[in-house]
Symmetry: C2
Subunit: 211 residues, 2 copies
């Protein structure tokens, strides 16, 4: 019988709270600057998920990401982690009680930009979303495998920049499948919206399966 | 009297070892995919530092970066950190004993891609080099301040992509100066070599001042 760490215990509490409130929560993890906030802005602009999107923003410092989400009409709270490099279930628990969550809505938890430590912490989400920007190089799934092992879906973002890069999109996707054969991969651009329709359809069916 | 942590103790040992060997060591920190390895490749290609460059590569997994450096004629060893998100002085100590370091040479320690945790660990280097890619957004110095506070120099890399980005180069530099007024900032492209001459001149004078 594995002794649940304090974090796992709280994560389980968060998960029960979210299930009772009928809120579908995901935990978004990437390197700094891969486009997590831009992707959430795009989801708010497109409004294709049919329900309200609430956002918990995690950053060492500033409320810049929360302000960007609010500017797009989203309800967002900001967690500043200071020297901590990842969100934990305790921080998220506090933030959950600050949001007027509605049944059937979505909760996006944008983690601190870091491909390593956030992958190990359960926050109470349904699953983790990994984001890799094609400006970072196709080798990232192999070099930072925890990101891929712990995610259900990988978004390869900023594909509008492909004409200007030496990035091998095929290789990046197959490297991810090598690390986690079950992962689903989408190539998208948060800037132009390319590829997002397929991702929205996938999220809606994943939500249907979970709730 | 601050009690030196075990890491600081070992870092001090590394620093003495490097000073005795007359090797000028720097610790390069960035987000994953900012171009640390590409910058080292560029330094090997340009050969403008006048002395041999030894490299310690830090990654969760793979020896891909070490192999890239060796392919450019550099002497490199690879440290795989597994689940650890940063290099520490103990890991570097082991690697130091594997390199045939020469007097007056350079040692570049490429840390694990992570803007947070590596900034807190002294490895025995002369100073830290921060790298931010202009594909990551100009807000990074404000959102990940530890990276800037702990660095002596900031390289804003990939400026060859500026025509295709909404990146504000001026703002990024001034945000960094706001966080750390003493930091020196260079705008460079590891791909085209633009801006590297000024950086080489700065490194040579910094090395002269330290040794
Ligand atoms: N060309 C292009 N740029 C993008 C895209 N998505 C994001 N960006 C840019 O990438 C930079 C970083 O985007 P953010 O949304 O702030 O990234 P993030 O992952 O939220 O960053 P942190 O929260 O700081 O870790 C900004 O300059 C964005 O404009 C995209 O699809 N295409
Ligand atoms: N256009 C352009 N691309 C660059 C430049 N520097 C690096 N890249 C590209 O950016 C991607 C990542 O470069 P790397 O050198 O592997 O970055 P890194 O910081 O060493 O990455 P990790 O060690 O995995 O954290 C690769 O696709 C490079 O080709 C640059 O100056 N301009
Ligand atoms: Mg963000
Ligand atoms: Mg590298
Ligand atoms: Zn960490
Ligand atoms: Zn020793």
């Amino acid at each position: 019988q594995r002794i649940l760490s304090r974090n796992d215990h709280l994560a389980q509490h968060n998960r029960e709270l979210l299930q009772k409130a009928q809120v579908f929560a995901t935990n978004w993890i990437s390197a700094p600057g891969s486009g997590k906030t831009r992707l959430i802005e795009r989801m708010l602009e497109d409004n294709r998920l049919g329900q309200e999107i609430f956002v918990i923003e995690g950053d060492q410092e500033t409320s810049r990401d929360r302000d960007r989400i609010r500017a797009k009409g989203g309800q967002a709270v900001q967690i500043n982690t200071g020297s901590a490099c990842h969100l934990d279930a305790h921080m998220v628990h506090e933030a959950l009680h600050q949001l007027p969550l509605k049944p059937k809505s979505f909760l996006v938890i944008e983690n601190v930009g870091n491909m390593v430590c956030p992958t190990a912490f359960d926050l109470g989400e349904a699953f983790k979303v990994a984001v890799i920007s094609c400006t970072e190089g196709e080798d990232k799934p192999l070099k930072y495998p925890d990101l891929i092992t712990n995610a259900k879906v990988l978004l390869i973002n900023k594909i509008d920049l492909l004409p200007h890069l030496d990035f091998d999109l095929e290789a990046c996707g197959s490297f991810a499948k090598r690390i986690n054969p079950a992962i689903t991969v989408f190539a998208v651009s948060a800037k132009t919206g390319e590829g997002m329709e397929a991702f929205y359809a996938w999220v809606l069916s994943a939500k249907g399966a979970e709730t």
